[in-house]
Amino acid sequence: MSPKPKVPGLISGLGVTFKAMLQGAVTVQYPHEKEDPAPRARGVIALKEENCTVCMLCARECPDWCIYIEGHKEKRPPRREGGRERTVSVLDRFDIDYGLCMYCGICVEVCPFDALFWSPEFEYSEVDIAALLHDKVKLGEWMETVPEPEALEVGAEKGKK
């Protein structure tokens, strides 16, 4: 098949492995050196609690039913004095069970108030599976690992989500 005189496969095969032996390794020694994942990688979901209005959309849309939400309503002083008192729903519990989650990202997408974000963080394995149920505080901690939305490729229409 190759135009040049056919070096018998057995010999050229040995050549390949010998050359590979001399070239460096491509592997990364994980615990010592770490490869940082792509900024868009779906590692863990972070919750921005202030945006959340307990609308339950994410819990409903989640195919694996792994988001548990409880909230209650509170009275808040009116924004402008003399205005009507505002009732605001406050989040009591927002757990994501990463033992069930399949990282599809429907919750992040369906959230009308942009309270959920993807973060490429991936080193949160646990010994006991129950510990994979991250509560509201843990999800808040992930917030600062959320990268800035990155620039799009040339030719992409700006801002068209």
């Binding site: 989640c62 039913w65 548990y68 939400i69 009732t87």
Partner: protein, 336 residues
């Protein structure tokens, strides 16, 4: 009510451009000799694959409250390129493209009145044949139409599934399907149907054959004699739907363990995974501070877009999610 936005009307010009440019120079275009089976003239061969290219006129979104009964309400641009018909009558069957018409005529020539009904679902010819000439349809499509490739054989149960969570209520995230039984392209006589898709590797053409299956005594002729590949498909269809394929050499379980009772893909077979765990999407309602007990509507409800509200106009007695059964769901939440 969600606004009834009509999707963008892709104007005809754009279609012409794509279909025009889309005419591939097929390296292995069907040998002209083979096309003799159809009336379509030889030079139509290349045009044929062009015609098969998808051109669509404006798609009218079917009214959500009464789903279109028989046909996909959808007009197709006539391959001869005259302007796609704008107004398409809701019930009229989509006109068959030239090549589908040729296939249909060839089939009718062979099977005679065994062809009960036919339709075109987006460029894919669907033909319903009488149950007793199911194997003959296979032989004809293999011999006369040159469909040597068997894509699949499968069953379908047209009866709508009972509302999930049964009558006891308890909302679920499952999409709300219409409750009355409607049938797909080329209609159906009863609840069960077996359907298969065959293709011709030479002529790059394919069609879907359907046949009704009697609910009381679901027996279907087996295709294993014509297409040996149908063996596994029919075994799967037997264990999933309960259609008995007579003439099948060895009808035994394919996917399910040998002691499995019941036919999972039938609509009345419950999906147990959803009964065991309460649905976390149930809105737990608590009273507004110093106010009367909660109103009937869903919790805070401004997430207007969730399908529970849109679902209720389809089914009158849709139990609102905050049925009393959720009360204890609030306290005894099911941490896994």
């Amino acid at each position: 009510m969600p606004d009834d936005t009509t999707p963008p009307d892709t104007d005809a010009a754009a279609d012409e451009a794509t279909s025009g440019a889309a005419d591939p120079a097929p390296a292995g275009s069907p040998a002209p000799g083979e096309v003799v089976g159809f009336e379509a003239p030889v030079e139509a061969g290349t045009e044929q694959s062009g015609a098969a290219a998808e051109e669509r006129a404006e798609q009218r979104v079917a009214e959500t409250d009464e789903p279109a009964a028989a046909e996909a309400a959808q007009a197709r641009a006539d391959p001869t390129g005259e302007a796609p018909t704008q107004a398409d009558e809701p019930e009229g069957p989509a006109p068959l493209s030239d090549e589908e018409q040729a296939l249909l005529d060839r089939l009718e020539a062979e099977l005679g009145e065994a062809v009960v009904e036919s339709a075109s679902a987006f460029g894919n010819l669907v033909v319903r044949v009488r149950a007793d000439s199911w194997r003959r349809a296979a032989e004809v499509s293999q011999a006369a139409l040159g469909c040597d490739y068997l894509s699949f054989v499968a069953g379908i149960d047209w009866q709508p599934a009972p509302r999930e969570g049964g009558e006891v209520g308890g909302a679920s995230s499952a999409p709300v399907q219409p409750t009355e039984t409607t049938y797909g392209a080329a209609g159906s006589a009863g609840r069960f149907q077996v359907f298969a898709h065959v293709q011709s590797t030479g002529r790059h053409v394919g069609l879907t054959l359907k046949a009704d299956v009697d609910e009381a005594e679901p027996v279907v002729e087996s295709w294993v004699g014509v297409y040996p590949g149908a063996d596994w498909h029919e075994r799967e269809c037997w264990e999933m739907y309960g259609f008995v394929f007579d003439g099948h050499p060895n009808l035994r379980h394919l996917y399910l363990p040998s002691g499995f009772e019941g036919h999972p893909l039938r609509k009345d077979f419950p999906l147990l995974a959803r009964q065991v765990k309460p649905w976390p999407g149930i809105v737990d309602v608590e009273s507004m501070p110093d106010e009367a007990p909660p109103d009937g509507d869903a919790g805070d409800g401004e997430g207007e877009g969730d399908e529970v509200t849109t679902g209720d106009e389809a089914t009158a007695a849709d139990s609102p999610p905050d049925a009393p059964s959720d009360g204890e769901a609030e306290t005894g939440d099911a941490t896994p």
